[in-house]
Amino acid sequence: MKQEWKRIMMVIGTVAILVVVIGWFCGFVMIGPGLPPSVNGWYFPQPDGRYIDGTRVFANTGAEHYGMNGPVSRICPDMFPVISSDCIQAQYERFYANDSRMDSHYIVISWYFNNTAKFADAEQELNDFLKRSGTVSDIRLDLNPEFQRVSAFRADDIQYSFTSVPVSQYTSNATSGYFIVYNRPLIRDRQDYIIMYYGVLNDSDIRTHEAFLTTLLVQGGFPTDPGVISPFA
């Protein structure tokens, strides 16, 4: 009986050592996943078209068009608290078909986190601030109109399995827009968290800008795996 027990323990020990050795080898030999330390900015709308008075505009987006006003900046505006040192923002503007500018100015902000606890703290801090400074409500943003609008222009063959996304709608006099959270969007076992904000500046009437803010969200691309997208906690 003792011999049998010893044999079982030897087998278990050998298997355990083999698992560790193979795991060690795999860790060294396998290539990838190959992601950079930070994936902040991966969901920014990226202009790829012509220039209008120094503004780089999106190509093939219809009669009205829009572009990024100035470069992407790593210095984020002070309208929201500093919740992450890895924050980038860019401003956008719209043009009529004759290339004249519209009055409204838009902003996209992205805060990146590589730590679950820090992300949770930041989310709470931002949520508290939003409730103090404006009105917040969880809604589902309908993406169908934008999908239909751009379907004629997209070169890729992405098939979306959903037609709306959960967002937190925020309105205030300084800015109004949508917050959306991407939880571990690329690899489920890597701690990547991104809070995105798509907003209009100096305007509390979000209904007027809903369609264009949806355009920015869709143009930036977004993760499509189930459970990745959420509004604020």
Binding site: P33, Q46, V82, S85, R188
Partner: protein, 410 residues
Amino acid sequence: MNIHKTVVVLLALLLAGMAIVPMVNATEPQLNTPSKMVSIDEAGNEALINVQDIANTAQGFSEWRDSEVVLSKTYFDLSENPAAYAFNVTKNGEYNGYILVSAQRDNYPVLECSRGYLPTLSTETSIRSKIKISESQTEDLVIKDPVPVYLGATFYFNAYPITDTTGKVVDHAYVDLINNRIFTSSDMKMEMAVNKSSLQANAAKQADIERLWSLESSPSAMTSVSSMTRSSNYIYDVPYYQWYRGCSPTAAAMVLGYWQSHGYPSYPTGTTLIDELANAMGTSSTWPFTGATFPLFIDDGIETVATNHGYSSLNSIENIWFNTDHFTDMTAEIDAGRPFILSMYGGGAALGKPDTYDEHSVTVVGYVGSLQNYLTIHDTWNSPPNYPLNEYRLLANMNWGGSMSDWVRP
């Protein structure tokens, strides 16, 4: 998988392990011998030569033509030997970026360059670090002014010497300028033990480094830079796919995506193609190897996908390169109009970029033969502020510990 393939896989695992173990365990190079030190004047000359070379070579650096360089900072290693000299690149008195030159001859002359700014201590981190350091010290200890420390791409620190009442340095505290983290001396030793790689482990890389230093130290180097012959080639129309499911299937998809628009229309594109390749090459989707691929399966996966779409004549050939320079082979493949996949172990950073590639697959779409030879790559990482999306990057030849390439010949 047949027995032959299994034996090849096991043999490759063993070889890879043998190649990597010395890189991890190699003793720290002895950097402070006088013959290996680079003076500030020599470094300034290196900076000036390379600024002109980069201006003529790299996308987005053309404004560096006819610029001047001004020493802005000297970085040290953990033994307080000079590690790198940072020079501001200026034109007509205006700041236009920086270039970091090695202070030791057993490293590449140019360590980094950028149109941006060197990392500095944010106000928030500065306050946080002072509080943390003061919390850990006793009344008898004093914190001195920080010393800038550079330990490789993305490893920028401020080292705060902590002295006793006699002025003797008894410890250091380190603030990571990239991630805003604070380390004790023991933390740093552990961190560096994990991240350190030995340049001396790779003989071909050392030979390349010696070639560059000798080439650029000649008095006529500055003249020869402006008049030297550059060889380059670039394959247009290779699509740019952002990382999805894993770097190897994404890199392979860019190659097949190119052939899709060059006579092989049955291939899908985008994420559909990446999905097919990831499945065919066995890219892992389970922890802890999510997104990782055995490089020996890359060519098999490509051939499987090709066969599935009716192109059974496609031939994908893998080349395993540990310590040898194959720049000529790679340029021949590009000159033949065939983009290919390069998989790296211990990959360094692209020119002007802070993040190292480590274990990563990229698509090679061109090359530039210059003072330093570069590969033009699609690295799957492009995103703002690096837009436009199809921006390529330049990776110095041999800027990796080991590599493997997969030719794709339809």
